[in-house]
């Protein structure tokens, strides 16, 4: 398109119209660079605000779990551990469920209308605000799972993950509500990548006598894998940064515990809880924690984009 447009550039025009054209183009240019400015601004502001805490605690901040505004001792290990554990375990549950659902939607087990309704319903769920999910988690999910947690503790208490008496709000519930939030993301991205696999591949597999699931496992899933992986990574980024629902249900305790049945913390829930009332070096420490969270989600996101670009389907 570009070379064709150059034809029009050297032609005579009234001065004022030319100027408007130039102004219009440059305004658009400036507006588009706002994205970069905001992104850099966020990184720089959070980084510089965390410098004070960074110079005082250094990398020790990442591995100690003391968080004591009275003694001015800060370490975010509990929150970082909570962020990683809740996001990875929730993905572990979401991936089979989401991909299974996506396969169900893309295969022809049920009529197309039913599948389309299920598909758009799942997508609609992504639109429900997380604070509403948190409310639901507090009043519906928590009572519902109480007995199950007691059972887990009684029978699997020897596993460190279930070693403490279950409390009302705990990390396990946070994982479950994250599953509810991630399911629509993973399902819809997996469905899209499965749909993009050309029909020829399926027909070829059927033609040489492969059964339906042999075809899915050996042909279709491998072909859609990069897209699904990217979706999973995007979901991981979301899970790490997810704030409201997790804050409302995780119990918000900085006491470190391996157990999922005890209250925990994530970086974002710590920010949501403490930022409003913090002062002094606590603010800087919170910015430090925010910086860690930002780096984690940036790395995951950039990796996801790289994956999409590198392995996007070319048929």
């Amino acid at each position: 398109m570009e070379e064709k447009l150059t034809l029009f550039k050297n032609r005579k025009r009234f001065g004022i119209e030319k100027n408007i054209d130039i102004i219009f183009k440059n305004t658009a240019l400036v507006l588009s660079s706002f994205v970069a400015i905001i992104l850099l601004g966020i990184i720089l502001v959070v980084f510089f605000q965390s410098l004070e805490s960074f110079s005082r605690y250094g990398l020790k901040f990442l591995v100690t779990s003391e968080w004591n505004p009275v003694k001015d001792e800060y370490g975010a290990f509990t929150a970082i551990y909570g962020t990683l554990v809740t996001s990875f375990l929730s993905l572990l549950i979401t991936i089979p469920l989401g991909v299974g659902t996506a396969i169900f939607i893309t295969e022809d087990f049920v009529p197309k209308v039913v599948r389309e309704i299920i598909g758009s319903f799942v997508e609609l769920l992504a639109a429900i605000p997380s604070v509403v999910l948190g409310l639901w988690a507090i009043f519906v999910m928590e009572p519902f799972f109480r007995a199950f947690f007691v059972f887990l503790h009684n029978f699997f208490g020897w596993i460190p993950l279930f070693s403490t008496e279950p409390t009302g709000r705990n990390s396990f519930l946070a994982i479950l509500i994250l599953v509810v939030m991630l399911l629509p993301i993973v399902t819809s991205i997996a469905r899209d990548s499965l749909n993009q696999v050309p029909k020829k591949l399926r027909n070829a597999a059927y033609g040489i006598g492969a059964s339906r699931w042999k075809t899915i496992f050996s042909v279709i899933l491998p072909a859609a894998l990069s897209g699904i992986m990217a979706g999973v990574l995007l979901a991981l980024g979301r899970a790490m940064g997810e704030t409201m629902a997790v804050t409302m249900i995780i119990g918000n305790s900085n006491a470190f515990s391996w157990s999922l049945l005890s209250p925990g913390y994530t970086i974002s829930s710590m920010l949501a809880n403490q930022f409003g009332e913090a002062d002094g070096s606590q603010v800087s420490s919170l910015f430090y924690a925010a910086f860690v969270l930002m780096i984690l989600s940036l790395v995951v996101n950039i990796f996801a984009q790289w994956l999409v670009k590198k392995f996007s389907l070319k048929y």
Partner: protein, 297 residues
């Protein structure tokens, strides 16, 4: 002998049956709780709706049985999302125009598109932290700290990537013939964009923007320490510079209260929020499906 007929006992057929039922179970396990969730929110919230809800202020949590209404939060949500839209839509549409119409796939536009994707992945609470550092703690807005204005700015950061992306993609779908025709009859580039390409991409851009606004209306994390919360009616323009309530923050605050009356208010607010977000989503879906059909004919 019978190899032309379907054999149930064959291991591959048993395996196929097994995996088919497994995927059906997955789908059921995924969908049933989700259906339950939506109906529960709509039922539980819907049963709390009364006319006074829309008129009264919420009462401060306490032992009194009457929790009041959610008027300030409702108006606050409208104001804050309007502020966010006023900032994000011009910037986003302008940026999208540059990416789709002017850039030629060079390093700059690739960097911006990459930045849009990265910004879309930034956790929403980080946007709040950023605005807190930039505006709330510096009191740069005429000495006011927590304000509806700051909250709107935080939300606009979250809306921006959606708006740019939908503008960019909507404009890219406009056939080049339209541009050639317009330029060919002597229109300048900006006339072409404003009179030809933008109008023909208007519907898809508008759909994306509206969905972005709906998403922003439910965001809580960027508001809890930028706009904070307020129990009082919004009376005039000056209130923009003070703490402002919103439905999302009201749900967060009142869900954690130990009092039943406040919890009910939270359910009512969720009902309004979810119902409006879902109806916007469903409407835009129907509209998109409808336009697709008319285009094909």
């Amino acid at each position: 002998m019978n190899s032309l007929y379907y054999q149930k006992r064959l291991s591959r057929n048993i395996g196929d049956k097994f995996f088919t039922s497994l995927s059906i179970i997955c789908a059921l396990m995924a969908i049933l709780p989700l259906i339950f969730l939506v109906t529960y929110i709509l039922y539980k919230g819907g049963s709390q709706i009364t006319p006074e809800l829309f008129i009264l202020e919420p009462n401060p949590p306490g032992d009194d049985l009457d929790a009041g209404g959610i008027n300030p939060a409702l108006i606050g949500t409208l104001i804050i999302t309007t502020i966010a839209s006023i900032i994000a839509i011009p910037v986003g549409v302008g940026g999208g125009i540059y990416l789709a119409e002017y850039s030629n796939g060079g390093a700059f536009s690739r960097f911006i598109r990459f930045g849009v994707n990265v910004l879309a992945g930034v956790p929403s609470i980080i946007a709040g932290v950023f605005i807190y550092a930039l505006i709330v703690s510096t009191k740069i807005l005429f000495g006011s700290m927590y304000s509806g204005l700051a909250g709107g700015m935080a939300l606009s950061i979250l809306m921006l990537p959606t708006v740019i992306k939908t503008t960019d993609e909507g404009l890219k779908l406009v056939p080049n013939e339209l541009r050639y025709a317009s330029l060919g009859v002597g229109a300048s580039m900006y006339t072409t964009i404003l009179k030809v390409t933008l109008p023909s991409a208007f519907r898809s851009i508008a759909t994306g923007v509206v969905l972005g606004i709906a998403r922003a209306a439910g965001e809580t994390a960027p508001l809890i320490f930028t706009a904070l919360f307020s129990y009082y009616y919004i009376t005039g323009f000056g209130d923009l510079f003070y703490e402002m309530g919103s439905l999302a923050v009201l749900i967060y605050n009142f869900a954690l209260e130990p009092y039943d009356a406040q919890n009910k208010l939270a359910w009512a607010a969720s009902f309004i929020l979810v119902l409006s977000i879902l109806s916007v989503n469903i409407c835009s879906r129907i509209l998109a499906a409808f336009t697709e059909k008319t285009k094909r004919v």
